[in-house]
Symmetry: C2
Subunit: 458 residues, 2 copies
């Protein structure tokens, strides 16, 4: 095994792929979001590529696709609920981590702690939870509310939510269960700890009716980049997925977040920063460009306008000439900074409406890279060795083809350079990521603020 | 295929089995509740036996085991969360239904509709939902409450919950998704129906972000036997699990519930009544009796007293001589009728405290039967042909051994008599149970109150 520090990889797998027109691509599975055989193949391909984890995004509503009615019926709108899908995938994979987004806003800590603990036991320690808050009106309206919860309140709730969930995971010590048929003793009463949490947002007694997860806690992931988000991550996250456009931006984010860890007594290594990368791969640069162009041409203008209209604050652009300039926009209530970013970009580069939506249709804020396997490996190496990233969340443009390309062409190149594993180091996701296994906060050994590191078993 | 009417079978599978001391039995898996290989084997065994479905009970807390601290540490207290477990089992089975309890009291309809729809897609139409309300204080305390919700309110909430869930399942018509790569149209806008439910307990806009379930709706199961429970079942349930001691009681329940169906425009066949049966099987009657005795001897007195104490209203019996009579009991707040039932039984049969708990330790109110395969088949046939049951929910005393016995010894006897299938009739749980596939309430065909019956495809 190489002693060189190696990067970590997530495979971010929406049903048909990340590009706005992915489902229309000839190598994409149009019904991928609800096709288990497709997901089974994806997860097994990612495992063949030695990815650390599969990652699934989620939301508790059909996402809006901008103003107007035309865009929605031209986009993928239905998909598996992630915890059920990951549970099924646990049976057809052996090594790869199984991670998904679940919101803290419209869930209860007891349900969430239970489901992730259950997945962790089903998979032998491969579960991971991407903690988010829900910030859209369409989600609020599915949960007895007219509008979404205010930002600060959402984050306060999220922070307490994690406290409760980790207490529930610690209800039982790792060796609480004796199951001694002879004496009839099922568990050691001294190793049961009833959380009895009473806080601002939650009152949860416990204990959990699932044993402590195999990993102690499933790996905790976050993606917030607001101040509240970064602070919550510095306290509780072990992986951050983030969108960064340039090495300089990535370095700034990396330094910022890592420096926040010390105030919580955490080492820089205990949090892995993984920017999203949208790779379009060709055997030659020209082939890659042609592939990207093919995808761009599949974008229906209604869908492009819907995406752009949504990102500039819900403004309907369908009455403006698509090959003309972006009009002056009214003030928006939400997403001011994103509106300004896009307006500035359009003015600076003199883009038409169509050119503007094409420029964001691939990776939507994540780093896009179109080139040969060597060129893409160069980019990943550059960011990794220069303090911009601990690894990457790979966002294939279309699926399954885009993941096949990455595993067949880019992974071997990263391995040749010694930048990526050729075999899994450990049994659990936590071990593969090189993260410490949390000590039970209620056990007698838990006095020290340091976490006990469980070495990867190789 | 036989044209004789045949009975339906559920396999009710708690981790180690149903008997109070199951986990201590030499043929029981003591860690069964959290052992996926064990559950995989159980589900495959039940499928080999052509069972209609696997059934999992559930609660959102560690169950109380009566007053005092001694009983809890001697009983199984942890197990998989059922939806994650069933999703994993969907991958290792092909025909058998996958059904589980989820409470309407501490859940949200959007989450529940999504998860069961997702499981139904993962399994190709094999999901079933056992609708319950949560009635214990230990559950309330895990969800920000001091005490459980009042009975009538729970049932009002449950009724509205089902309304919302079925509306969400009907968000998309069966053929809504065109996924036409050429035209770029993903779904037919005329076949999307936004529920926009606003009621007493829930305000849920929708649509669901999962396509309509393969079965239209997953099969809806209930187990309530109160007046509220029976009325809710008559309106919404397709299967009822029930506890009946004698043929006469079973017939009375059967007639009562079936007669309630007509006022909701439903046919008697659209609801299957399946009492629980706890079978202890021996090749001879003596072998069966010895097997049962072996289980009874494994009951730790603390656990027996805990069970009995809980069932008579939370009264601590540990200070009374275990081989003496049941003392006079104080009035209880809850479960008055159960307290009276047990007190009467003890007086009538002159039972000691130990004898009383032994009498309920096996099936806890369900019908217990100890005998040869022929004797057990006789019982099932008697209840089935004489209007006491449409089928049975089989509760093996210990697992895996008790299920193996039933599949190897009783199923062939039922098949010889023409009472049970030798091959699955349909592709989905609904088809195997002979239940109609619900028409989408929002589609143009849905004007008639009659449900369209989709024939089993054989």
């Amino acid at each position: 095994m190489s002693t060189k520090k190696q990067l970590k990889l997530g495979a971010f797998l929406p049903g048909s792929g990340h590009h706005l027109a992915a489902w229309r691509h000839p190598n994409a599975q149009a019904d991928g979001g609800l096709n288990f055989q497709h997901y089974k193949r994806l997860a097994q391909t990612a495992e063949r590529g030695k990815f650390d984890m599969v990652f699934l995004a989620d939301g508790v509503a059909v996402r809006e696709r901008g103003p107007g009615k035309e865009a929605l019926s031209r986009t993928t709108v239905v998909h598996f609920e992630p915890l059920t899908l990951l549970s099924a995938l646990s049976v057809v994979t052996e090594h790869i981590g199984l991670t998904a987004t679940v919101s803290t806003t419209y869930n209860e800590p007891y349900h969430l702690a239970r489901k992730f603990a259950s997945l962790d036991h089903l998979s032998g320690g491969r579960a991971g939870w991407n903690l988010v808050t829900s910030a859209t009106e369409v989600e609020a309206k599915n949960f007895n509310r007219d509008r979404h919860m205010e930002h600060t309140l959402r984050y306060e709730r999220a922070k307490e939510f994690v406290d409760v969930v980790t207490k529930l995971w610690d209800s039982w010590e790792d060796d609480a269960f004796l199951r001694d048929k002879e004496s009839g003793i099922y568990f050691d009463r001294d190793k049961l700890h009833i959380p009895d949490h009473k806080g601002e947002h939650f009152s949860v007694k416990g204990p959990l009716n699932v044993a402590r997860p195999v990993q102690g806690y499933p790996v905790i992931i976050q993606a917030g980049s607001s101040e509240d988000g970064k602070n919550l991550a510095a306290q509780t996250a072990e992986v951050i997925f983030t969108a960064q456009q340039t090495l300089e931006e990535a370095q700034a984010f990396y330094t910022d977040v890592k420096s926040r860890l010390t105030q919580y007594g955490r080492s820089p290594d205990s949090l892995k920063i993984m920017p999203g990368i949208f790779p379009v791969i060709g055997k030659t640069e020209q082939e890659a460009k042609d592939k990207f162009e093919q995808l761009q041409e599949l974008i229906d203008p209604h869908v492009g306008l819907g995406l752009l209209g949504g990102m500039i604050g819900g403004f309907d652009l369908s009455n403006y000439p698509i090959d003309g300039p972006l009009p002056e926009l009214p003030e928006t209530n939400g997403g001011k900074s994103r509106q300004k970013l896009l307006t500035d970009l359009a003015r600076r580069e003199n883009l038409t409406i169509r050119q503007l939506y094409l420029s964001i249709a691939g990776a939507r804020g994540h780093r896009q890279t179109v080139g040969t396997p060597e060129q893409i490996a160069d980019l990943l190496e550059d960011w990794f060795v220069n303090g911009g990233a601990d690894g990457f969340n790979i966002m294939p443009p279309y699926l399954p083809g885009g993941l096949d390309d990455f595993v067949n062409l880019v992974i071997p190149e990263l391995q040749r350079r010694g930048l990526f594993r050729t075999e899994y180091e450990g049994q659990t996701l936590r071990e593969n990521l090189g993260l410490p296994r949390p000590v039970n906060q209620f056990s007698s050994r838990a006095g020290s603020p340091e976490l006990v590191t469980v070495g990867a078993s190789t």
